[in-house]
Symmetry: C2
Subunit: 219 residues, 2 copies
């Protein structure tokens, strides 16, 4: 743990944003290396040296190069057990937090990533792509809302921050960006609004990173 962790990421990538949150909540200082997904910087020879899978986020920590946001967050929480615990200690709460994280990670995000959207625009056009987005995001948010009715307190699972919250905020941002209506999901909106008040969530927001496009930048 001698050298500072390095995070290869992109301001708008949901998975990157989750890892920024984990590092920030755990007070782990890190070097931010931007990889622009829009210009395809992840596909360069140079980045292939960092990650042959040519995907972000990549976290270099403890001499390892880790990929996949949820396993990275589990690793950070296991090796840095200081508060807040991102994975609850109680087995039932752990399972619920992971379940909500997975509804987003495997149930929504794969249908909205940059690569898929580009492919869909080419194959079925802009309008049908938007229908696709609306369908999968609405389906996913229905599942999150149903889960939050049972599990939420102030945050997704009770009153403590968990891995589920790290996934929720970037997903709500994505829904707004894609003009998906969330008014039927009051638990989602309430929890998201509580989370946005927290300093770590303010700091890690897509619009406040070094690589945020200037027209999107907020203070």
């Amino acid at each position: 743990m001698s050298s500072k962790p390095i995070l290869w990421n992109f301001f708008r990538s949901s998975a990157s944003w989750r890892v920024r949150l984990a590092l920030t909540l755990k007070s782990i200082d890190y070097e931010y290396k931007p990889v622009n997904l829009y210009t395809g910087e992840q596909l360069t020879e140079e980045f292939a040296q960092v990650n042959s899978k040519q995907e972000i986020p990549v976290l270099e920590i403890d001499g390892l190069r880790l990929t996949q946001s949820l396993p990275i967050i589990e690793y950070i929480d296991e090796t840095r057990p200081q508060e807040p615990r991102l994975i609850p200690q109680d087995p039932v709460k752990r399972c619920k937090a992971r379940m909500i994280a997975e509804i987003i990670n495997s149930g929504i995000q794969p249908y909205q990533n940059t690569n898929v959207l580009k492919r869909l625009v080419n194959e079925i056009g802009e309008e049908k792509k938007n229908e696709w987005l609306k369908f999968y995001l609405t389906k996913g948010f229905k599942a999150i809302e149903a889960a939050l009715v049972e599990t939420s307190g102030k945050y997704c699972v009770g009153d403590d921050i968990t891995i589920a919250d790290l996934c929720l905020v970037p997903q709500v941002y994505a829904a707004n960006r894609f003009n998906v209506d969330l008014t039927n999901f009051p638990h989602v909106l309430r929890v998201n609004s509580e989370l946005e008040k927290l300093p770590a969530f303010h700091k890690c927001h897509a619009h406040r990173q070094v690589d945020t496009f200037s027209e999107l930048r907020e203070n």
Copy 2:
């Protein structure tokens, strides 16, 4: 833990198959409740009483109804710590096993599920659907192969069964079913073939379940 766990699942669903493997490897007896995804049984009012998200697998255990295969497997391993440990004890191995599981769970499976494939056939036709499948499966298997080069021993991560193995076998089956060529992925094929020799993997195979279609049934 007085009553027998119940697993709502479908013989061919990858996520169901992973949970069957976890229960079987842990020697946990369970009741198999078939839900036919092809006839849309998961969309009935009756099944909505079991899971309002209308998805499988659902595991009823310890008075809980759990969804999402990876969190279910983590829960089983945490609450039934007998060997085999499906999540390794070492933090680095844990992370690697989860990473491979996620490459499959969030990086491949969402692009091949029944709902998505039906939608794609309607929108872009059979041929383009097959190109889509080939693209996402090949991309995913490249990532798995690259990971296995570093992590595999006899199985995905060293010489012990992990959550990664539970995801690999159903994914290889799916690739074969969709005619995706795996000859460029020798580590995948080798590990898969080792796993198929194990009694639990034989027992949990899609072609040996009570709801397996008769034309597919094997002994």
